[in-house]
């Protein structure tokens, strides 16, 4: 049996008396798209924060590619093959697109290059070029990120995550605030990511969730309410009551 890329076991965190994430156990689909859905306040982003090391769980375990990484900081997890994006665009707004990607990709080069002048060739530079082409940012490569459109910034946010060739890619509402056509394009992009990594997604657009996901995890009040294929989730009466029922 191959190791699961990501598995959580009874993962929990409480803020005061509130159990924001309550004994969530799930296994992400290798080289597929696992989507976490649930109403606002269900604990989706908190779950992301626990897995990506932004928060330390009160109890439970996170296994990344068979390795217990519970309580590892974000910095360490990144080296262990995890990358994440943010619900609210989180970039280096005063730098250009290239500079942002370069910063994300320069860890591909040996540490000894850290005190040499930045090279125009080599792995990091190649990665930056590749990502700029793939994410259609060529026309904006030398623009300051703060001047980009929202859709472009969201695309760059995903591109940043890919720069270090992660095994697990966690995207927190990548289509948040996007126009319909941008959302469609981003969906195609996300689908293409499964060639590089396993994807864990938080998404609100139910149509998108159903068409994109290989596996869906429904959270409700911090707990794992249901799990299954999109079709199974659609047919699940508990999910319908808790989630779809609310309109």
């Amino acid at each position: 049996m191959t190791e699961n890329i990501l598995e959580t076991r009874d993962l929990s965190i409480a803020f005061g008396g509130l159990k924001a994430v309550d004994k969530v156990s799930f296994v992400a689909i290798p080289n597929g798209i696992t989507t976490v859905i649930g109403p606002n306040g269900a604990g989706k982003t908190t779950l992301f924060n626990l897995i990506s090391g932004a928060l330390r769980p009160s109890s439970g375990q996170v296994m990344l590619a068979g390795l217990d990484v519970t309580g590892h900081g974000s910095e360490k997890l990144q080296a262990e093959g995890l990358a994440r994006s943010f619900q609210i665009t989180n970039l280096f707004f005063e730098m250009t697109v290239r500079e942002n990607l370069r910063l994300a990709a320069q860890r591909l080069e040996p540490l000894s290059h850290g005190l040499r002048r930045i090279r125009r060739k080599g792995r990091a530079a190649e990665k930056v070029d590749e990502l700029i082409a793939r994410f259609d940012l060529g026309a904006k490569a030398f623009e300051i990120v703060g001047t980009l459109s929202h859709g472009e910034q969201r695309r760059l946010e995903i591109a940043m995550c890919l720069a270090c060739e992660p095994k697990l890619l966690m995207l927190d509402e990548p289509t948040q605030g996007m126009s319909h056509s941008d959302t469609e394009e981003t969906a195609d992009l996300i689908r293409s990511l499964t060639g590089d990594a396993s994807v864990l997604l938080i998404e609100h657009d139910i149509g998108l969730v159903m068409s994109l996901s290989d596996h869906v995890l429904v959270m409700h009040q911090g707990a794992n309410l249901a799990e299954g294929t999109p079709a199974e989730i659609r047919a699940n009466p508990a999910v319908q009551a808790a989630y779809f029922g609310q309109g």
């Binding site: 989180n90 250009t96 290239r98 080069e109 930045i118």
Partner: protein, 342 residues
């Protein structure tokens, strides 16, 4: 095609070249007229410019506001003075100052880097005040009188030996040392390592998710800044023949900050222009009225209101825009209009 950050640094170098030219002309003119006062004033401005440079490394690149950078300036100055009074060796004094500031910078960094933002500013302020008061009350360090009687040095440079008593020679030597520090810091900030320091200012919270420690680059920036301040401070007693606890007081740290803001935060070279301007103004206005601090204060307020990016910040976009257009032409990229970074 170069990145914007590289073009920005090149634009700084243009202004550094201009500064070099101005100082060269000035130096020659003053030497011909046999002046000593203004040569020594210019040397002092450069030394204080080194302190301002150290403030800008932290503020303009790491996004860290230090209100106590004079601490390391003073430590460098006192170490240098103590060594020189025992052994009149330029290299001995410089090496000792580097060693002591390095150790103190690491200790101070371990303390100050436990906190961020306003608290960082307050801790750096507090550390400098504590050490300054200790020095002020320590008899063996000259207490409130400071250390006097630093001998006039002969400085062997291998090919030639110059005297610290010669205003022109010491001015040139000081400029070379400041220029080396400017060049070294500019180089470091242009490396992948430097990019991480710059990213600290831009968005520190994002860095861990790209796999970077935030503590290490912050600590590195702090220690480098301490060294730059310490080396500048080490030159001070060679010029003035004495050191006093005032060198560590908040007035010194605050002045360095004003120099950086008036000159242009995040430009490195702005610190040197700011230091030159303020030192000159203080001297000129100070000879006219004893209330020169009021005038300096008003200039500072005016600079913040009307030139928030400082002297260099006002003229830099034109230079950087030119460099950008040239680079784009070389790279066969469209010459689109764009906002120039600072």
């Amino acid at each position: 095609m170069l990145d914007n950050l590289d073009l920005s640094m090149r634009a700084n170098h243009v202004f550094f070249a201009l500064l070099t030219a101005i100082l060269a002309v000035l130096g020659v003119m003053l030497a011909i007229t046999g002046d000593t006062f203004y040569l020594r004033l210019a040397t002092e401005a450069l030394i204080l410019g080194g302190l301002a440079l150290s403030v800008d490394i932290l503020l303009g690149f790491g996004g860290l506001l230090s209100l106590g950078q004079a601490l390391y300036f003073g430590i460098g100055a006192y170490t240098s003075a103590l060594v020189l009074r025992e052994v009149p060796s330029f290299w001995g004094a410089m090496l000792a100052a580097i060693g002591v500031t390095l150790v103190c910078g690491i200790i101070g960094g371990l303390i100050a880097n436990r906190v961020r933002g306003v608290y960082f500013a307050l801790i750096t302020f507090g550390m400098a005040q504590v050490v300054a008061k200790v020095v002020y009350n320590t008899r063996s360090l000259g207490a409130s009188d400071g250390l006097i009687g630093v001998p006039v040095l002969d400085i062997p440079l291998g090919f030639v030996t110059i005297s610290a008593g010669s205003p022109l020679a010491f001015f040139v030597l000081t400029f070379v040392i400041i220029a080396l520090m400017y060049g070294g810091v500019a180089y470091l900030l242009s490396t992948p390592f430097g990019r991480v320091i710059i990213a600290l200012k831009a968005n520190e919270k994002r860095l861990p998710f790209l796999g970077y420690s935030t503590w290490k680059p912050r600590m590195a920036a702090y220690v480098i800044a301490a060294l730059v301040a310490g080396i500048s401070g080490a030159l001070y007693p060679m010029l003035r023949g004495f050191v006093s606890p005032e060198l560590m007081f908040f007035a010194t740290s605050g002045n360095a900050l004003i120099m950086v803001i008036v000159g242009g935060v995040g430009t490195l070279v702005g610190a040197l222009y700011g230091a030159a301007l303020l030192t000159l103004l203080k001297s000129i206005i100070g000879s006219l009225t004893e209330h020169h601090l009021i005038v300096i204060g008003l200039i500072f307020i005016g600079a913040i209101l009307f030139m928030p990016k400082g002297l260099i910040g006002v003229v830099k976009p034109a230079v950087q825009g030119r460099l950008t257009r040239r680079a784009r032409k070389h790279a066969h990229l469209p010459l689109t209009a764009r906002r120039e970074g600072d």
